[in-house]
Amino acid sequence: MSEKKLAYHPGCPSATTAIEQDMSTKAVFEKLGIELAEMEDWNCCGAAEAEDPILVYALNARNLAIAEKDGLDIVTPCSICYYNLARTDKALREDEGLRAKMSEIDDSLNYKGTIKARHILDVLVNGIGMDELSGKIEKKVNVKVAPYYGCYIGRPGETAFDDPDDPDLMDKLIELIGGENVQFSSMKTKCCGGPLMMTREDIAFEMARKVLESAKNAGADCIALACPLCGMMLDAKQPDMEKKLKITIEMPVVYITQLLGLALGIDSNKLGFNKNIVSTKEILGKVI
């Protein structure tokens, strides 16, 4: 990849519920020699709760404009932040009237459309690339993984950067680090239920249960993720789900950057392996 510096939009859960994703993202990029410069004064993308597209565009025009001032592409570890940033970028590029509308709201929303917003998974596999990554692998991470993509990576089409039905960017990384992808195709892109967690826990739990149990039945040692909301639902809420549904799952859930970090020889504490809710001890025992 030619860019040696990117504007980092960490997203709201980066300091709290998804701290291990933030830690491992930073550690991996540091090891790869790419500077992640946290965006000055970034704001929330509106997540799934801002339902008015104009509000989403305004919130993200501000973020895009901040990075544009420094002439840097944005990279984010969160699938929803990515979707909101990327669809705003697209809408504003295509619609002059919308750009004018944004500028009218406030000067800080004056985005010209000269940068891009990308998801870390896209930057790692398509930006940095498998060749460069493979030269930096120091260890074999001998785990069986269920790669879980969820929403916004392969859909909707306007912002997708992977296949909608059978995405494979994480699969590639897992192979690269010496792991094995278990049979999981039918579940890879099924929604985890995250957006309904607070308003319809019953439905959300049922959705998450399907993902977790499929991974278990496929013989996975862990699930790999690329979104903090999936992490909240599948990892942090897993004990609540077990209690409510009277089942045992005990499926470790880690971020793909944590697994990649292990293969790059980074210390597991620096990758936040002690922060995941379901114990990750067994995974760490499989690093050779």
Partner: protein
């Protein structure tokens, strides 16, 4: 039975004019959206195709009072698969916003806590520019308990006792989580909400 004299033929235009609703009339009722929908798999009554058909017919009241409007997980599977590019996920959001406007005007009672949750979420953003989890939970639970702060706190503690402890032990809900992280230029965020939401 559909009572034709009760149909609201303008409903379709109302949706078409709402951001996200512009592709409504392209639907040719193939059901692809519903077949792939993860919610339809779990909740038997859930049927986005039918909501679209009823909207096109002008069954305004039935559509807006349908509790299923509020359980879409906005996962975009339907949008990705629709052969007619109806953008169902955005379309349902547009219909939800029409319902919320009616509810605010006292014309409709919404059978879901989702509007409350979304409002509480956006309030955090408006105030701080970032999500403040604790503030969101407190406001949401207060609203759920009919506006009583004390009752809200009790209900929240009951629901989140185990979760909170679990997160605290992992350093994910430390003292830092008790205070909001703020953007510096909150005035810029305020302006966005003023102008977009008309506040």
């Amino acid at each position: 039975m559909i009572k034709t004299w009760e149909l609201d033929l303008n409903f379709r235009n109302e949706i078409l004019n709402e951001p996200g609703g512009a592709h409504l009339s392209a639907c040719f009722q193939c059901s692809t959206c519903t077949i792939g929908c993860p919610i339809a798999e779990i909740v038997p009554s859930y049927n986005p195709r039918k909501i679209i058909q009823m909207s096109l017919l002008g069954m305004r009241e039935e559509v807006l009072s349908n509790p299923d409007l509020w359980i879409c997980a906005i996962c975009q599977t339907c949008t990705a698969r629709c052969p007619q590019d109806v953008r169902i996920s955005d379309l349902l959001a547009a219909i939800r916003r029409i319902a919320e406007k009616d509810a605010e005007a006292g014309k409709l009672k919404i059978d879901s806590v989702r509007p409350l949750f979304e409002k509480a979420f956006l309030h955090q953003l408006e105030k701080y520019g970032r999500l403040f989890d604790m503030g969101l939970a407190m406001e949401f639970y207060k609203g759920k308990e009919g506006g009583s702060f004390i009752k809200g706190q009790l209900a929240m503690m009951k629901d989140f006792k185990d979760f909170g402890m679990r997160m605290f032990k992992k350093g994910k809900m430390g003292p830092k989580a008790m205070f909001p992280e703020k953007v510096k230029k909150t005035e810029e965020i305020k302006k966005i909400f003023e102008k977009v939401e008309g506040k």
